[in-house]
Symmetry: C2
Subunit: 366 residues, 2 copies
Amino acid sequence: MRKTKWAVIGAGNGGQAIAGHLGLLGYEVNIYDAFEETIDAIQKQGGIHIGGIEEGFGKIKIASTDIGAVICDADIIMVVNPSIYHRAIAEKCAPYLKDDQIVFLHPGATFGAFAFKKALEDCGYMKNITIAESNTLIYACRSVEPGRADILGKKDRLLVSSLPATNNKYVCKLLKEIYEEIEEAENVLVTSIDSTNPIVHCAPTLLSTSWIESDKDWYFYHDGISQTIGSFIEGMDAERVAIGRKLGLEDDKNLFTCVKQYELEYNVKRDTLSEAVRNNEAYDGIKGPKSLNTRYLFEDIPMGLIPLISVGKQLGMKTERMEIIVKLAELMLEKDLHENARTVENLGIEGMAAESIIEFATNGMK
Amino acid sequence: MRKTKWAVIGAGNGGQAIAGHLGLLGYEVNIYDAFEETIDAIQKQGGIHIGGIEEGFGKIKIASTDIGAVICDADIIMVVNPSIYHRAIAEKCAPYLKDDQIVFLHPGATFGAFAFKKALEDCGYMKNITIAESNTLIYACRSVEPGRADILGKKDRLLVSSLPATNNKYVCKLLKEIYEEIEEAENVLVTSIDSTNPIVHCAPTLLSTSWIESDKDWYFYHDGISQTIGSFIEGMDAERVAIGRKLGLEDDKNLFTCVKQYELEYNVKRDTLSEAVRNNEAYDGIKGPKSLNTRYLFEDIPMGLIPLISVGKQLGMKTERMEIIVKLAELMLEKDLHENARTVENLGIEGMAAESIIEFATNGMK
């Protein structure tokens, strides 16, 4: 069997770590970013130096700011960008995509596969490609300089599904060559609803504004998820879980509260979210942002809370805690966070009942 | 002219300081509280020791938990309770009130005189009394033990009006015997809208939750009113000012933004609220609460923001920032703060247009 060819979109922390690692494993891999400085450094070196739990030099075939050149021959196009760029990436890729390519959003954030597919359709794209998404990024990693990335840790579990889910076996088999931690999820509703960053990030950020804007350090989980804030987040989480349930997910099977996820992922068993995060060693030392201009708001709200609210409302679910956090953020930041947000309209599921959305995720049919 | 007789309702910090000071000046004064320990101590001593900027022993005629005994012979009944008790005080007083007595809510908080009058009417009370209110409490004071209060400072200006305003001259003349700082306001709309605690207290409290629930000290004004929080408060303040304008108040005459008030009261001239409070020496060292169970929320929301929203909505004004703070507080505290809140219904002004409310404040006629 010939080795799969990869294109990595995005040369940030995650993109460089992933592309470098693929090169290290001997795969043919290209990398794209709009940021010339990073691309030039990689092109000059002919690859990416990897440190941390993997060590070595990963050869890169093409590092380019020309997305067509990067993706045209790839079997799998892995998108490792902040989710706010997914739509723009889809629009840039559309002219170059070919039948049978796989686009893998890593991670997809909330309803990423839906959003990517709808963006392609809006471009008039009708080819037969499979879009897949993961619930999270496999690595904890950082790039200290262009052309060099450290892989600091690896998740024990990576949920992946494709849209439609009928392609799951095929896609997951290819991805598992690289990431044995992959678990096949029933459909992209599982991977999307499992994405809990928006639930956990937004409220502690807003409710720590005075601390953020002081000259003092604070710790995001230990300080930010105080007792009352933890309870409030559990209320937001209950809204997310209810939406998941409505979309056919099952409690403790493919739908877990945040508290339960901490137990599964970090072996921290506590009754409340506040207690769980304060007893999670993996969170020790994670400082909070020093400005409200943070992805905890600018990514997690338009790409996380707003799509959950939009889908939830269409399904007749209650989302008052998520809504108030969105509204408060908009008023505090004096910015319309709905402008480029994911909603049922640009997810391509406007007016669809829960059953139709499940059917769409499963078979790709509307 | 015979000396006025006083009844002071409430033997907290303010009530004891005020009653003790009246006794010190040689007035006949009674004091009421439901809290027996304080009342017993005062009764036993026969008065209240006053320290600070006033010094001496103020004789008290009757200190009692029997409100009828305390108020029956008084010319002026001064209510020095947290505003959340105003309605209950009105109900307790109603059976004992007599024609021509003056009830002075010190301070009235937002629409206190309206609320007190409506509470009396709901009790079937129809006698000819005048209800007056101030915008704030004249003293900075504290009681270190029952029967002893320190007066630490005195405001330069105390706005007072009565309901109806036609009694203002008479009431202010009597009160000015004690407090020469009194300025007669046009009507109780001025004193009510001038009350800015709800505007300044609620948002910094909620948006400092993680700090409040940490074990670290924080400073309410210096830390809590950071740049973004300050801007948000200015937005809330603009909603308040717009309501005042609609109710006939005039900018820079009897209606001042918070930023302008800091300039007038503390001689701190800055463009933004955040800069103003950080440059106000009077605020140095004022620590923030260590729990969300604070009057900054439990008094200032039901007695401040909710009545402003309720009146504002009736007048067709925009109150989205105030509303979101109320809603957020309710969800975080998991408590219905509307339960005993002041609204157009229990202020006795339901359905009234701005002109009618102004007329009511002026002449007492509906």
